[in-house]
Symmetry: C2
Subunit: 559 residues, 2 copies
């Protein structure tokens, strides 16, 4: 019954040490990463090879088998201004779902270790293709080279492996083999049963990609569903198809090599002319959905796809409270990077900066509210003063609407840092803008409680540190947040903030002045989002993210 | 900040070995039970003491502090016909929720081990009060003495401890103390952060009790929510308040002794004149709901309490397929007990018995379909032929509507076993009826695909064994089931059934002919329901049942 291919068994042996280390890391939560985040290990010519592989996709139909496909879709536009012209097979939803369902029984029959090992092999193969992925991510999301490499490659792969690991842990919480249950009956012979438990995947899973982090935000759901036995239909954002198309193609190759049906992972691409997400996600066959994107569509999925487990990451209003610091310079430097990175297009970028109206104590003496605000604005300005260096941090703006939003936002209050366009030195036509910063009154909650996606931040005066925390907490409880920061030299205030963050269920970073930033998290250590406020209903990656993607079916029989 | 009372620390030491054993048992899933299921350990005079303690409640207001209470509710009626006349304080929902919320921060601050130990102490105290609980359960649910003892006492306590154990496991998946995260930076000094994670409970939890198994079905949700830091409001079924009122009172005593706010567990009783469940469960403060009961109300909760994690156990159509057997007598005996126990009022009782129309092969030779049906009917009849013995298995019928339903059901098809009332030998006025059994045509799915709650079973002829399995699978996918059984001597058919049960996500019991019954599960070994078909959206108790009742909030700071 369990006919596992030789290749699959090889993968089990090959990835066993990795899985063991990964489980250890997930339980220890110190630093651990499997995939290198510096270029060297990818080869001397990695960059050129990656560029060449990427260019080979341009202006062509992407070759991939899609069940029932006829015609093409595809209208990606590079935020860096190059011509894309890639098309993808247009899927037939009926056929895709049928193929996915047909692929499931054999995959379900494979034990967790086999599925986890096949997933680890997919990730290893993805890791090898990182150089190509860099440019695929860059030219769909607008991320600058280094970020497209790290976040689109190894860090996304780490998150994928984390999902595999947690799925494996949750499935193996129950013994894989037969268990003898023996219940004493006093002087009578005991009752003896043999029992085993099978992992029953929920059914077809859908992963809906986002336009800014197609791999980083896509891999956790994809791999969590796949490792727990569900076939996965990948529906990329129409603006960022290529990174997930490459991913799906690699996954299919590895699955087929291991003796499984490649239709366990299928690509269902669409474009803005004929979106398919609603039709796909409301199908009764679909039992799991992972989504990253707008609050509006996330809520729609939660409301309308009640047949499925729906995991959403939506908008939020991330905050930092600046109450005091013993490293004013380090704080400004750290915040400047956070506010600039990828032009504030991270779901983790700080939007609201709460500062006591009476100013703050620092290692440079007292700073008034205005001085703090000005230092923040000047910090960003200075950090981005050199265009050539700036574009490597900012990248480009993914969506023209985001660029439009900056101008609108600048009408909201007192602008202390004006956004300016930058001509990219070597990618003409790139949509590059620097961040804007405004001072807003505390009573302008209607403005700062909306996510203003993109490079806009607000500095908001509150009564004092405690009021900063209370105000921030309220915004998060009502409108959500993925990240929270605090600068304070007072342990009491740190504790207050910690309690507030427990109430608001948001992770807290304290006194970041060095090389760790509030908008970055490390797989196997930091959770991304908590799942406990309106910004997301799940965390990447914890047991809750994986444990409900399958059910245990017990089988018992007298021994 | 973490001021834990001496008493709480004593409880940690006291229950540490239990927790360790429980975690081991949950991972091993062999036989393990902490609370004795025979009467002896409860004392020579347990039965009399229990009766006396129970009688002391009758005709009086139940003494318990309920925030903002004014007036009384209470209209329990014993299915065994005795006068109850117990009243309970009528809660003020605003005040109950306010008190629950106020109690949370200190409880949240206690580490998982403290909370788990306090919960274990509550369970130990409940165990000591088992004799009293027997009669409280008996005279609200109609369970006969032995079942009220085992299912209402130790087995319920086992399930409660299982919930505590899984909650503890899920919370401690992440280290409790500080973790140093050190990321190498090539030739530069490493990035070093200190991190810790706090368990952030969701908020106020509500446990809605059912009328048939108030403790067994109530404890998992109650303890899963409590151990993960949530205050719990217990809303018993109006017909079965006393068992949960006693439970809440004991929980409050233990919490107060350990230095915590007793309002972490509150009683919100109501009666049929003024039901409060809808108002309570739709309150925004309520973040977790556990419910056992009707499909209609379960669905209502799922649809209308979107602010909360909702765990429901609803109706289903449990089945047994009889395809062949090498112990015909044992099978009939086993099924007779299953169909009789507690007059079929278990959510796990078999309703649909699928048999090939051509009959089956047995150790007694070939049996035609009619012979099998007749043997089942005669088996039950014989098993219940002695009234004095019968009432100790049947108990009484909790709800008069269930008794009415029997007469209605008997009009549906060919009655092969007619239900008859029994005069209880020593509890006059007890509502005792024996089960009915009918033969239904396979095309009468409209009848057998509805749960006919109570002592009615249908024997249904299918083409052959495979058709039995396919038909049963379809009923479960569409209408849900908590239990499935198969009698077959063919390993191929057992495998077919196993695959079908994976599709339908229902646990399977094979060839039960001895002292284990399809409608009984053992904590720490068998899951109750899978959470994967319409009968329930959660299993008792797995990681999925606990992991989303809290969120992890990470706090990180440069080391």
């Amino acid at each position: 019954m369990n006919v596992i291919s030789t290749r699959a068994m090889e993968l089990v042996s090959k990835h066993k040490p990795t899985l063991e280390k990964a489980v250890e890391a997930a339980n220890a939560r110190g630093y651990w990463s499997l995939y290198p985040e510096h270029l060297k290990p990818y080869g001397e010519t990695a960059k050129d090879d990656g560029m060449a592989a990427f260019k080979a996709h341009l202006g062509k139909p992407f070759e991939i088998d899609v069940p029932g496909a006829s015609g093409t879709v595809g209208a990606e536009e590079s935020p860096f201004g190059i011509e894309m012209g890639i098309t993808y097979p247009k899927p037939d939803i009926d056929e895709v779902l049928k193929a996915a369902q047909a692929a499931m029984p054999d995959w379900r029959r494979a034990v967790p270790e086999v599925r986890a090992s096949v997933c680890a092999e997919i990730l290893e193969r993805l890791n090898k293709r990182t150089p190509e992925m860099i440019f695929a991510v860059m030219h769909t999301t607008g991320q600058a080279f280094m970020m497209a490499f790290q976040a689109g490659g190894p860090h996304a792969q780490d998150r994928g492996l984390e999902a595999v690991t947690y799925g494996y842990m949750a499935m193996t919480q129950v013994p894989e083999g037969e268990v003898i249950w023996e219940k004493p009956q006093g002087k009578n012979p005991p009752l003896v049963m043999k029992k085993h438990w099978r992992v029953a995947p929920r059914g077809v899973a859908v992963t809906i990609g986002c336009s800014t982090f197609p791999t980083w935000n896509g891999y956790p759901g994809l791999f969590a569903s796949l490792v727990t036995g569900n076939p996965v239909v990948v529906k990329p954002h129409p603006g960022a198809v290529l990174p997930l198309a490459i991913t799906v193609k690699i996954a299919r190759e590895v699955l087929a090599e291991a003796g499984f049906d490649p239709n366990l992972v299928t690509l269902a691409a669409d474009d803005h002319n004929a979106p398919i997400a609603k039709e796909l996600c409301t199908r009764p066959e679909v039992k799991v959905i992972d989504f990253t994107g707008s609050t509006a569509f996330g809520n729609w999925l939660e409301d309308n796809c009640r047949q499925a487990q729906v995991y959403t990451e939506k908008a939020g209003v991330n905050f930092v409270v600046i109450e005091s610091t013993d490293d004013f310079k380090g704080m400004i430097r750290n915040m400047s990077f956070t506010l600039s990175l990828y032009t504030g297009q991270m779901c983790t970028t700080t939007q609201n900066i709460f500062v006591p109206k009476g100013g703050i104590e620092t290692d440079q003496g007292h700073k008034s509210f205005d001085e703090v605000a000005e230092a923040l604005a000047k910090g960003v300005e200075k950090f981005l003063s050199d265009d050539a260096r700036a574009v490597e941090v900012l990248g480009a703006i993914q969506n023209p609407a985001t660029a439009e939003r900056i101008k609108e936002a600048e009408k909201m209050g007192q602008v202390i840092l004006e956004s300016r366009p930058i001509d990219h030195p070597y990618l003409k036509g790139a949509r590059v803008h620097t961040p804007a910063m405004l001072v807003l009154e505390k009573d302008r909650a209607a403005d700062y409680c909306k996510e203003c996606f993109g490079p806009v931040s607000f500095v908001i005066a509150c009564d004092d540190g405690a009021d900063c925390i209370e105000t921030a907490k309220r915004t998060v409880r009502e409108h959500g947040a993925i990240t929270a920061g605090l600068y304070s030299t007072s342990r009491d205030l740190v504790e207050q903030a910690e309690e507030a963050c427990l109430d608001a269920q948001v992770a807290l970073s304290v006194n970041l002045t060095g090389g760790v930033f509030v908008n970055q998290t490390a797989a196997f250590s930091d959770f991304h989002a908590t799942g406990g406020n309106p910004a997301a209903n799940a965390a990447l990656v914890d047991l809750a993210f994986v444990a409900n993607r399958f059910r245990f079916v017990g089988v018992r029989e007298p021994a």
